[in-house]
Symmetry: C2
Amino acid sequence: MTKKSADPANASAPAAGSAARQVPMRDFSRSLPMSLLRAREAVMRQFRPSLREHGLTEQQWRILRALAAIEAVEVTELARTAFLLGPSLSRILRDLEARNLIERRIAKADQRRSMVSISKEGVKLMASVAPNSEAIYAEITRRFGARKLAELQEMLGELEHSLAGLGSADDARAEE
Amino acid sequence: MTKKSADPANASAPAAGSAARQVPMRDFSRSLPMSLLRAREAVMRQFRPSLREHGLTEQQWRILRALAAIEAVEVTELARTAFLLGPSLSRILRDLEARNLIERRIAKADQRRSMVSISKEGVKLMASVAPNSEAIYAEITRRFGARKLAELQEMLGELEHSLAGLGSADDARAEE
DNA sequence: CCGAGATACTTAACATGTTAAGTGAATGCG
DNA sequence: CGCATTCACTTAACATGTTAAGTATCTCGG
């Protein structure tokens, strides 16, 4: 495990065509999406092993947490809360229901909607996971600093807000 | 757009088996992983349509960008640069090679390693995508503010750094 | 009433994330 | 030299992300 071939820092000879040089791009490792991806991965890396011990994925855990705070929700509303796309949620709910961690019933007023709620078993599972999860979060907070953490989340919220309504709604360009 | 706000006619009866609200945790929507996820999604939502028009996924684009800066890399090194796991990279490289966007050859000194490089077609494709991509990035920067963006990325880097070496190496707790 | 359009999901299809196992090639050590 | 280890990937298997269709239900104008 010595050095990995060359050092890519300098040199940077764009090889074949000069097309790449005509459109110079930022150092890709410093792009915002990459920064966000790496930071999130660094955080999730802490939680995954604990969740895995309880047979839960990150998304399943998100759903249970979202359900724990309310009586029942429609699937669409749950998708927004847990930040999952409909198809993902649909699959996960099917599995969680098969494991008896959640319950569903059709809304009486509207046969299209189904109301989802956490089951007693789901609550028990949560109770066995939550302490560990909270401890990990506390350690992260301790390492990074509570104040900085709040600042970071504030900035993330602002970023999200400043991009709201750019590409989310179809801009109806009629450009085809 | 009928409002779905409060109680949709069924008045959400206290529900016989409702087990919610028994495991107190932080408001889950304010957790760090969720903040990071939402922020990243808000950003990527801007890029995906453009990439899609060129038949590229986000990950494929990351790989091409990483390759554009160098002559050739080993797969393992590329995985680190593009922040992809081995198996994902393996599949994507197979597809990119089939599309003639990259090239591969076995390293002479070590038959296990394969050196990957971008092809001329790959460079051409990049040249057709990069301007649009840069424009989007510029717009994001404009909206959020260049200084704040730099600050944010600084903090993300610190977060990543402060968590380095927590759960990455197996802690061999022997706690079971 | 009725049928066109909107809603609330669900399925399908393809691509990636994630972990575990497999394969072939180098290395190190007795 | 022989062979167990380690390495550098690749496959496999399952779960989710992402977009497009499909299905049943509801709403509303005529």
